[in-house]
């Protein structure tokens, strides 16, 4: 009951945001967080659940963004079709990247994804007939009623909720348990019959799909994309959001995304420090709180509302014991 009430309250807050948000800028930030979250929710299955450290999802984001801009802009496809296609193309690229690289051990995999992000930037610049090269591409807006700040916010919110629901289902069902087992000990997972490679690959392809979708939404929020938009630092940012929020949780990375997107906007000195700040946060979390800030939140909740274990004093019952001993002897 209580959980349903909290969920309903959260839903009401999120849906009504356009009415109580201060202005369009704050609404824009909220929508940007939503677009990031669509990607991060999928990436969370890869990083937080299956433990594959991909720092290069910004490459998949760029692919989704360019796919949308090219299909809906240059080729004037239907916007929704283009949106779906950018998700599909993201998934396909995720498959192409995942097939060879997911067989690699941890550091090799991280470097492969880093290289992938650099290659995408390189190809975007080289294929200027398609992508506009350095000049970039203008991104078409969503049609009415999603062309206003509030409209696009609601659309992104809707997609984000669906994606979250999907990942939540994966996380709490057998799949998610299997992925966590892969993360914590690949050998054990293999031994108990988790199809390791298959599980990792499916999670990775799903993250490609959400990265493609997120890329398209992000592109619409930006209204214009150039290769400069998709810096490696952005990939690092996604990654840091998950680690800081806490791996193996959904709420944690979500809080991480919100806080890390909003903080530099609110505080100019933090914005100036830029990556130094992200690096410091990452280091602190890894050293002091490897379970992430989400865990801190959980502990705080438990402090506030300690779990009642109920007192059940156990009295010795010599008579019963004697009976049992006798039964054993017989």
């Amino acid at each position: 009951m209580k959980r349903v009430a909290i969920l309903l309250f959260a839903a009401a807050v999120l849906v009504s945001l356009p009415w109580w948000a201060g202005d369009q800028y704050q609404l824009h930030l909220a929508a940007l967080i939503g677009a990031y979250w669509v990607l991060i929710a999928g990436l969370n299955l890869v990083v937080g659940f299956s433990g594959q450290l991909s720092v290069g999802h910004v490459g998949l984001l760029a692919i989704g963004a360019y796919a949308y801009a090219i299909l809906a802009g240059t080729h004037e496809w239907n916007v929704w079709l283009a949106l779906a296609a950018s998700g599909g193309i993201g998934a396909l690229c995720g498959l192409l990247l995942g097939l060879p690289s997911l067989r690699l051990p941890g550091f090799y995999f991280a470097m492969a994804t880093l290289a992938f992000a650099l290659i995408v930037t390189e190809l975007v610049l080289a294929l200027d007939g398609l992508t506009g090269g350095g000049v970039g591409l203008s991104v078409p807006e969503f049609p009415a009623p999603f062309d206003t700040a509030a409209g696009s916010y609601w659309l992104i919110l809707g997609i984000a909720v669906i994606v979250t629901w999907l990942t939540w289902n994966v996380a709490r069902l057998m799949w998610g348990r299997g992925l966590i087992a892969v993360r914590d000990s690949m050998v054990t997972a293999q031994a108990v019959g988790v199809p390791v490679f298959h599980a990792k690959l499916v999670a990775f392809v799903f993250s490609g799909l959400t990265a493609g979708l997120g890329g398209a939404l992000f592109a619409v929020m930006q209204s214009y994309i150039t290769p400069d938009t998709f810096l490696f630092e952005l990939g690092l940012f996604f990654f840091v959001c998950i680690i800081i929020g806490g791996r193996g949780s959904i709420l944690g990375p979500f809080l991480g995304t919100v806080v890390l997107t909003a903080l530099p906007e609110l505080s100019a000195p933090l914005a100036k420090l830029g990556n130094f700040f992200y690096g410091l946060l990452l280091l602190l979390v890894v050293l002091l709180l490897p379970e992430g800030i989400g865990r801190l939140f959980q502990i705080g909740l438990e402090r506030l509302r300690p779990q009642r274990l109920g007192s059940m004093p156990i009295e010795p019952q010599p008579a019963q014991l004697a009976l049992a001993i006798k039964a054993g002897q017989r």
Binding site: Y25, G133, V135, Q222, Y224, T226, D228, T229, L231, A271
Partner: protein
């Protein structure tokens, strides 16, 4: 004795009226200028110099009592050269700070993203990025470009190479960054329009450690002028070093970054900077007698008053450009008698021959590029002195 209630009321109303009057006369709403500047990150050197000019002009106007009694309030946001941050800050300036003008951003990649957003909000935008696609009288009627276009730089350099140096075998070298690829493409197009097909053209990674191959290939292709289009000082310095080490005395003609002061320090020998010509401005070029245009000299004198007598060690035109953007705001507000965006747009669209330090600006109903072609001047790259240059012979 009690005073009647009415008298209290009357006194109150009187005070209120006075207050209203006072705010109306003495404390009008300030004119808020949003300044999107990449003060950190790549290309920060240009932004820092521009920022000096902007700050200086704002202080100067405020000290003189503001514009029609309204003070200027400068709201600076550091985008660090990141388009995503630039978009966020543009929305913040437009919707939260409710600025009357936006100046910037500095980098083309950022501007391409922010100009449409500011246009949709209807706020006047003074554009200081050079990419040609940035302004469009129909799509973005409120965006007015103050700086020259990329095409104007390239045209100036091409004309110099083809007509003054009488060279026909051109090698075009761009870098693989967004700016480099698009500039190199435009340069090749403009050359072909002039009837010259480049004998060699190549894109180079800006961090490539060595340019010997590219220069050797250019030489083998018979190039008699090298035209680099890149803002990466490291790459340009390597190019000049390679040319010098090869002992190849071919002229290098191209992007203004060729004459940025940091290049001098990256060169193996000072003389490697000779025979190098870069696109610059009439306003920051010494004439035959070693004098600068009067407006520029006046700005230098004022800067010296403020910064002390030491030599100016950055490119002066960035300062002049920043200074002019605020002066254009002043011009627009004075002519429009206020900050109504529509009136401002009308004033700017009908501005003819507005004298600035950096250039003389004219915009029209169909033309949003304010910088006139003839104020581009080719400079000798190694002639830097006190922020300005000598003309190329």
């Amino acid at each position: 004795m009690k005073r009647p209630i009415l008298s209290h009321l009357r006194a109150g109303v009187g005070a209120l009226a006075l207050l209203v009057l006072a705010t109306g006369v003495f404390a009008q709403e300030p004119i808020r200028i949003g300044w999107l500047s990449s003060l950190t990150g790549p290309l920060s050197s240009a932004a820092i110099a521009e920022n000096q000019g902007v700050q200086f002009a704002v202080d100067e106007i405020n000290r003189a009592g503001g514009i029609d009694g309204r003070k200027l309030e400068l709201i600076t946001r550091d985008t660090a050269g990141d388009p995503t941050k630039a978009v966020n800050f543009a929305k913040q300036l437009v919707f939260t700070e409710k600025v009357h003008f936006i100046i910037g951003p500095v980098n083309s990649g950022e501007s391409l993203a922010t100009v449409p957003i500011v246009a949709r909000a209807g706020i006047p935008n003074l554009v200081i990025g050079t990419v040609d696609e940035l302004v469009d009288a129909k799509k973005y009627p409120n965006a007015f470009r103050v700086i020259n276009t990329n095409r104007q730089w390239i045209d100036g350099a091409n004309t110099y190479a083809l007509d003054v140096l009488k060279r026909r075998k051109v090698a075009v070298i761009g870098d693989t960054s967004g700016y480099g690829t698009s500039s190199a493409k435009t340069a090749a197009e403009l050359l072909e329009k002039a009837g010259v097909k480049p004998v060699y053209s190549v894109l180079v990674d800006p961090n490539k450690t060595d340019l010997a191959d590219e220069m050797n290939k250019a030489k083998a292709a018979g190039a008699d002028v090298i035209m680099p289009w890149s803002a990466a000082t490291g790459l340009l310095a390597r190019l000049l070093n390679t040319r010098g080490d090869m002992g190849w005395n071919v002229p290098v003609v191209g992007h203004p970054a060729l004459m940025a002061p940091p290049i001098g320090k990256l060169l193996n020998k000072p003389e490697y900077w000779g025979n190098t010509v870069a696109a610059g401005y009439v306003s920051t070029t010494y004439d035959a007698k070693g004098k600068l245009p009067a407006n520029t000299q006046a700005l230098i004198d004022k800067l010296h008053d403020r910064l002390g007598k030491s030599e100016i060690d950055y490119m002066l035109w960035w300062v002049a450009l920043g200074y002019d953007t605020v002066r254009i705001v002043e011009h627009a507000v004075r002519q429009a008698h206020g900050t109504d965006p529509k009136a401002i747009q009308k004033v700017l669209a009908n501005t003819k021959g507005l004298q600035g330090v950096y250039a003389t600006y004219s915009w029209s109903a169909s033309q949003r590029n304010g910088f006139p072609d003839h104020q581009i001047m080719m400079n000798q790259a190694n002639s830097f002195k006190d922020g300005a240059y000598r003309a190329a012979r």
